[in-house]
Each structure stands twice: as structure tokens, then as C-alpha cells.
């Protein structure tokens, strides 16, 4: 791969010689986590081709085969490796599809948060004054309520306003919006802090003296220099978004059972835990934990490597 001419050779060369890659090659835990995470992502996105059955297709569901245990427990059917859920859906297939849903929502929400947060943070930090006061006060208020709380409240209100059926039809979009709106202050604060540090540097003065407009200075000159903390918090934010999605789904404010994410699988399985079918809830739970854990460990490693002065708290 390194011998191919890449469209931006200097950047690739910089990456190849960077401390980042050097550290990655020497940290086996980071390599392992990245390997697990990447394979989970690939498997989840190839779910339609890999999964033994299509859990969204009602014709492939056998209600008589419900609550079958996974293969290592007596009474298992070899057709269903991880057993079946209460509706007779193959647990392996539905977990693959559910992981895909969780990942889409997690990435989508973080993309939205980053978009909103970086823009607002940049504006607040660069323009200062009233814009700064207004945006940061808003962020303060929202953060003092904790992001999960905001997400739950907004989710509840949106669901009650639009009605259950509409909400579940557009649940993916709704969850991305809700989690995205709930967590933008994290980005805004991080970006604002580094913009404040960058703004007083000489290159910004130089650009201003050259007569460049505010917008150009903000997005072309200051923004690239504030991106490394953004990158660092992004890993943790993806993990947070996936957990928030699972929490909302668990409360019944997320993905519907016909189109489950990992969170709604855990929720629907929880109703059957008292009857002894623990696998319906715990196997998706293990997948969720592995997914979030690898992202968190990667995030820890990235933070150690890049070590930017992050906003604490």
C-alpha cells in the first residue's frame, strides 16, 4: 500500500513518519481494539449478505421456534447458532442487523454533533462578545442537565408530539437528531477553547493584515489547527452516542422492535429474563459492551498519543 502513489503524497508521508503510527505499531492493545472494532463494523455492514436469515422478512420467522437457547445449551436447534428471540427470529441475524443500526445512529449522531459543535465553537471563540456569551450560556445550561437527560426529555417530547407510529417509522433519523442535538456542547467547548488559544497567534494576525475575511480565516486557517482535540473526543463521543441510543431504545424511546438496534434487543429480551431466556437480552448486551469498550480503549490510546489540553469534565 505504501508504494502506491497517493493523491496527496506529502500527507501520506507525513502520516507514515508520524508518532501516531509509530505508537500504534508498538501498542498491541490498540491494534487489537482496532482489529475488533473494524471487524465488527465490517460484519455489521455486510449483515444482509452474512446473516443466515433476514429478520425484517416476516416470512422467514417461525414463531414456533421462539426462545430457543444458543448452541452450547441443551435443547438448541443447530439452525440457530445463538438461539432465537421471543418472536422466533434468529438471534445471530438480528444482532448483526442491530449492530448495524446502532453503528449508523452512533456515527450519524456524532457527525451531526461535530458539525454543530465545531461551527458554534468556532463562531463563539473567534467572534467572541455577545455571540460567545449566548452560545456558551446555552451550552452551559445544556451540559448542566447532562446529555443523557436532555436526550431522554427531547426524545419523550418528540415521540409524544409526533405520535408513536410516525416516530418509529423515522426512528433512525429521530435518534440521530436527538443525540446530535443533545451532545453538541462537548464539541463547541473543546473547539472554543483551542480557538481562543489559536486566535492570538501571529499567523492569524498575519492573515488579517493580508486582508482575508473572517470566514476564510476561521474555516481555512484556524479550524485545521483545532482539529486534533476534535478527533480525540470523537472516539469517546461515538461510544457515548451508541450508549445513549441503547438507553433511549431501552426506555422505549428509540428503535421499534420490528427494526431493533442493540438497545431495543436488550429491552425486548429483558421481558423474558424471568422465564429463564437470558440469552435474548445478554448476548446483544455483550456485543454492545464489546463495541463500546473497544471504542473507549481506542479513545484512551488516542488521547494518550495526541495529549491535547482537553476541556476537563
Amino acid at each position: 500500500m505504501s508504494t502506491y502513489a497517493s493523491p496527496t503524497p506529502t500527507r501520506w508521508a507525513r502520516f507514515r513518519d508520524s508518532y501516531f503510527l509509530y505508537s500504534f505499531k508498538r501498542t498491541w492493545s490498540a491494534q487489537l481494539c482496532l482489529a475488533i472494532f473494524v471487524s465488527l463494523v465490517i460484519i455489521a455492514f455486510l449483515a444482509p449478505w452474512l446473516a443466515p436469515t433476514d429478520p425484517y422478512d416476516l416470512r422467514q420467522i417461525d414463531i414456533l421456534a421462539s426462545e430457543l437457547p444458543p448452541f452450547w445449551i441443551a435443547g438448541a436447534d443447530e439452525m440457530y447458532m445463538l438461539g432465537t428471540d421471543a418472536q422466533g427470529r434468529d438471534l445471530l441475524s438480528i444482532i448483526l442487523y442491530g449492530t448495524r443500526v446502532s453503528l449508523i445512529i452512533g456515527f450519524g449522531a456524532v457527525l451531526l454533533q461535530a458539525l454543530l459543535g465545531v461551527t458554534f465553537g468556532l463562531l463563539a471563540g473567534y467572534l467572541g462578545g455577545r455571540v460567545d456569551a449566548l452560545l456558551m450560556r446555552l451550552a452551559d445550561i445544556q451540559l448542566s442537565f447532562s446529555t443523557l437527560m436532555v436526550a431522554i426529555v427531547v426524545g419523550a417530547i418528540v415521540k409524544a408530539t409526533l405520535g408513536s407510529s410516525f416516530y418509529s417509522e423515522y426512528a433512525v433519523l429521530m435518534l440521530i437528531l436527538i443525540i446530535g442535538l443533545a451532545e453538541w456542547p462537548q464539541y463547541a467547548r473543546t473547539v472554543r477553547a483551542s480557538v481562543l488559544a489559536e486566535r492570538s497567534k501571529e499567523y492569524v494576525d498575519a492573515a488579517r493584515v493580508m486582508g482575508l475575511g473572517s470566514r476564510r480565516i476561521m474555516f481555512r486557517h484556524v479550524l485545521p489547527n483545532t482539529l486534533s482535540p476534535v478527533f480525540v473526543i470523537s472516539t469517546v463521543q461515538i461510544a457515548n452516542a451508541i450508549i445513549s441510543e441503547a438507553a433511549l431504545s431501552f426506555l422505549g424511546l428509540g428503535m421499534p422492535e420490528t427494526h431493533p438496534s442493540l438497545g431495543s434487543l436488550i429491552k425486548s429480551g429483558f421481558d423474558y429474563i424471568q422465564s429463564g431466556s437470558w440469552w435474548i437480552t445478554l448476548i446483544p448486551g455483550v456485543v454492545l459492551v464489546v463495541l463500546v469498550l473497544t471504542i473507549n480503549l481506542l479513545g484512551d490510546w488516542v488521547r494518550d498519543v495526541m495529549n491535547p489540553r482537553l476541556y476537563k469534565g
Partner: protein, 349 residues
Amino acid sequence: MIAFLTKRLMHAILVMFVISVLAFAIQGNLGDPIQQMVGQSVPESEREALRERFGLNDPFHTQYLRFAANALQGDFGFSYFYREPALDVIARHLPATLELVFGATLIIVLLSVPIGVYSAIKPRSPISRFFMGVSIIGISVPVFLTAIVLIQIFSIGMTVSLFPQDTAWGSWLNGFLSTEGGMPSFGRGQDLTHMVGYWDSNLFTLGGLRHLALPSIALASIMLPLFIRLIRAEMQEVLQSEYVKFARAKGISLRRIYFVHALKNTLLPVITVGGVQIGTMVAYTILTETVFQWPGMGLMFIDAINRADIPLIVAYLMIVGVIFVVTNTLVDLVYGMVNPTVKLTGKPA
């Protein structure tokens, strides 16, 4: 100090105003309360009369002013479901949540301080490494999943048959890993001690404490790793500082340095973060209470949402808003008192 208090008070009032407008704005859009109150057979004319009687047809600002005036007197209207004042419903559910939070806080304080301090003093010991490893797993497990696992292990019980039963070690391991269960995992139980007013307590009988145990552990599990890591990081920083080195050079005993000199300054940032985390804690009580059917405010809120019980939802949001504003202000105040280097009024917004 007075300037700071005034400023914080203005801030608090502004926040409460924003919350009240938001909380009220949802009233008009959230479901149809009349639908919830009356049956299918009630004719449209009577429904309209009811709407008129409850003032649901008035313009937005009239309704808001009426709402704000009533809210200031502690009147959030009648819960559509319970048919009693919303504030009373909340007051009845509040003790359960507070006891749950109390139990969780107790566990967090009792465990996070020793573990955090120990792993800061001896960062390379296997025990510290073990706790650090467990804590990052703890952060990655959502609270409702911890709760479900706790229910499976301690309430339902697990029969492990992973290892070969016919060998001695296999059957021993199976027996060792299997649990009997039997811990209560549903609600508060019957053994409640009546205190005053709406306050029935779980804390004074064995049966009550058994009911409280699993929910408290679940709620604590999500905060514990965060506090352990925070105390460890702050303690390590403090141990590098000049005055600790000086104290050591003076020959003060290590125990005194760690627990009197260093720990004091470690706890400063812990107070701030702890105050901020109260907000998160309230969110997690919603999840914990849903799993354990713990009859507190969180479960009441989720039920209220499902029943479109608007006065109750609004009252909950307002009460939670007050709790947040008050704790945040208190945390700032306490922080300013214990750390005189912080200039209260000069703090950037």
C-alpha cells in the same frame, strides 16, 4: 460574595425561565389530555366543555402566565392519571429516588476514595491495574445492562454448566460460578418504615435494605469508575507538587501526607465534577428505576410520558430543573469557599 450570589441567582432565574417556557411549550403539543381523562363514549360537546373548563383553548401567552403564576405557588395542576396535584404525586415518589441516590452515593464514596488513592500511590501494583481495567469496562457497560446482569446473577440465579461436570475441577468451577439468586429485584418491598409525611424508608429494616441493594449497586456502578479515575488522576497530580515533596522532606509520615495533606486538595475537583454528575445521576435513576420497577420519580416520569400525563411531565421537568440549578449553584459556592484562589465574581461565564 454578595455580588457572586446575585449573579448566580440571576443566572438561576434565567435558566428556570427557559426551562419553564420549554416545559410549558410542550403542553400544547403533547397528546390530547381530554382523550386520556374520559372514555371513548363521551360526546364531542362534552369534550369541548372540558377543554374550555381546563383553559386548553386560551392563547399561548395567557396559558403560560397562568401556568407560571401557579407554578410559583407550587401548583402544577392535577395529574390526569392520579387525579391529584402533580406536586403531591412527585412528593410521594421523591423519597424512593432520594434513598436510591443515597445508597448509590454511599457505595461510590466508600469505594472510590480508597481505590482511587491506593491506585494513585501505587500505580504499578497489580491491584491498581486490576481496578483500572475494571473501571474502563465499567464505563463501557450501560447502567441498564449492569442492572440486568445483577438481576440475572443475584435475583434469578445462574446455573453454569460451561465446564465438564464429570471432572472434579469442572464441577467445582461450575458450582463456584453458579449462583442461587433470591435477591429481590422488583420495587421497594413491604418492609418499609414510615418516617414523616410521604417518606417511607427502606433504610431501617433488613428486608428494605435487601430491596435497595441491587438498584443502588447498579446506579453506583456507572459513576464509580469515573470517580475512581478522577481521584486517581488528581491524586497523582497532587503527589507531584512541591508542598508534598516538602512535607516528605520534613519527615511527616507517609500516611499523614497522603490522607491529610494530599487528599484534601484532591477532593476539590472531585466536588465540582461530583456536582455536575448529579445531573447525570438523575438521568440514570430513570434507567435504573425502569429496570427494577423502583417506584421513584424516574419511573413515574416514564409512566407519565406513556400516559401523556402532561402536568406530571411538566412538574417533573421543573422540579428536576430546580434540583440542577440549586446543586450547580451550591457546588460553585462550596468550591469558592474551599478554594480561596478562585475569584467568584471574576469567573468567565
